[in-house]
């Protein structure tokens, strides 16, 4: 089992794009009891990863409740970087 932040980043090497809700849905089985497993904290972790070039923002939209969804993706180079650090 990987640390939560590693699992979050590693997820982007397996999908075309994802928002915080997608990441949480995919990781809920192993990490839902973690204190950091909250939408606001996950969104902040994604923004931090984006700020440091590990992932890139792909698009934004609103969900059915009118809440913002920010989608991120990892390019081939970004996937290689994530894979080189996180096994």
């Amino acid at each position: 089992m990987r640390p939560l932040n590693y699992a979050m980043l590693k997820y982007f090497t397996t999908v075309d794009e994802a928002c915080a809700d997608d990441v949480m849905g995919a990781l809920a089985g192993d990490y839902s009891t973690f204190t950091a497993f909250k939408r606001e904290k996950m969104q902040e972790a994604l923004m931090t990863a984006e700020k440091n070039g590990l992932i890139a923002e792909s698009r934004v939209d609103l969900d059915s409740n009118g809440d913002l969804r920010v989608f991120y993706s990892a390019s081939e180079e970004q996937r290689a970087t994530i894979d080189s650090y996180i096994k």
Binding site: M1, R2, P3, L4, N5, Y6, L9, F34, T35, A36, Q43, E44, A45, M47, T48, A49, K51, N52, L54, V60, D61, L62, G66, L68, R69, V70, S84, Y85, I86, K87
Partner: protein
């Protein structure tokens, strides 16, 4: 009056909300980075206060100021106790936050190992150098140690090929000039015992922290900040206690038992250890906020905000040690304050691109 958002298309509304989210994230990053500066001030003040306790003052009075014990061993004991207290705080908060499992899983990973190696540079090497510098030259060394953002920029250019254009070079020159101003002030009127060694060791600390900010900054964008800082403080505390202190004892011909008798006496003395417990907490908060602020608003701006401790550390030390404890010698000469302002200006020139600031202001007006 009609709600403006009601007239926007869903796509425009999403972009508006994203701009607000970005602005909130940016402001939070700056506030966290500035908070690291305030906590750095308290860390400096209480480490200094611990070294002014009755117990410590007794040692200072009975040991020759140029003896190896006084120059290296006793200040390193202060650093080891501070970082160990800080590691205990960090571990306790990691446990409270339910992150101990992730802490264990991070240790034997590549980012974890990189972060621990940078902790060795920024912890045992830089922190011990800084504590010795403080003990030898007083808080006049603080602005010298504050050169670390400039050094971090240069190392980032060398190691990670990051941009180092004319604006940043000018900023570095301003910082160097400010350092020379402080040095010239120190040669007149400062009563510290070994000012040249203090300033030199403060520069070693700046090198170590610049390297740490550069190397750990990258690792910490993958590692949860709380876990990262716990790794840092644990490595630093353990290595200072179990490696640096024994090495210094052997190198200086000081019996190991004598070194550790000073350590145990400091830990057992309530007024002294109380100062280090507070200093350790402030150090934990300062370095945690430094890592987090850097990762949230970019290393350059994060380090520039953190660099305001040039003002904050001597000010808090003066308030705590000078005013509250009534110990003379902690008021800085005017030229040092002027130099600190110049140094902050240099740090800001290095870190803040006026074009980006202008763009952010425009974006803020557009979303208002």
């Amino acid at each position: 009056m009609q709600d403006a958002s009601a007239t926007l298309s869903p796509a425009d509304l999403a972009r508006q909300k994203k701009s607000a989210l970005d602005a909130s994230f940016f402001k939070k990053g700056i506030m966290i980075a500035l908070f690291s500066s305030l906590m750095y001030g308290f860390y400096t003040a209480f480490v200094t206060a611990g070294q002014n306790s009755v117990l410590w003052a007794g040692w200072t009075a009975e040991i020759a100021p140029t003896a190896f014990l006084a120059v290296f061993i006793i200040p390193t004991i202060a650093s080891a106790i501070n970082d160990t207290c800080s590691a205990i705080w960090a571990l306790a908060i990691t446990i409270k936050q339910g992150k101990l499992g992730d802490f264990g899983r991070t240790v034997n990973t590549r980012p974890g190992i990189i972060l621990m190696l940078s902790a060795l540079v920024g912890g045992p090497i830089a922190t011990v150098a800084y504590i010795i510098a403080l003990s030898q030259a007083g808080t006049i060394v603080v602005p010298i140690a504050a050169l670390n953002p400039a050094i971090g920029s240069i190392l980032s250019r060398i190691l990670y090929k990051q941009e180092l254009g004319p604006r940043k070079i000018v900023g570095i020159l301003i910082c160097v000039a400010a350092g020379l101003m402080i040095g010239s002030a120190s040669l007149t009127g400062d009563s510290s015992s070994n000012i040249v060694m203090g300033l030199a060791l403060a520069f070693v600390a700046a090198l170590g922290w610049g390297a740490e900010g550069c190397i750990a900054g990258y690792a910490s964008c993958m590692i949860d900040t709380q876990i990262g800082i716990t790794l840092r403080q644990c490595v630093s505390g353990v290595v200072e206690l179990l490696v640096v202190l024994p090495i210094l004892s052997v190198a200086g011909g000081v019996p190991m038992a004598q070194t550790f008798s000073y350590l145990s006496a400091a830990v057992a003395n309530l007024p002294t250890i109380a100062c280090f417990v507070v200093a350790g907490f402030a150090a934990y908060k300062s370095f945690a906020s430094w890592y987090r602020g850097n990762s949230m608003c970019g290393t350059a701006l994060g380090m520039a905000c953190n660099g305001t401790y040039t003002f904050v550390a001597p000010l808090v030390t003066y308030l705590v040690v000078g005013l509250a404890m009534g110990i003379d010698g902690y008021a800085l000469p005017p030229i040092a304050w002027i130099a600190a302002v110049v140094m902050i200006l240099g740090i800001l020139v290095i870190a803040v691109d006026p074009k980006e600031l202008f763009k952010k202001k425009e974006a803020a007006h557009a979303t208002a």
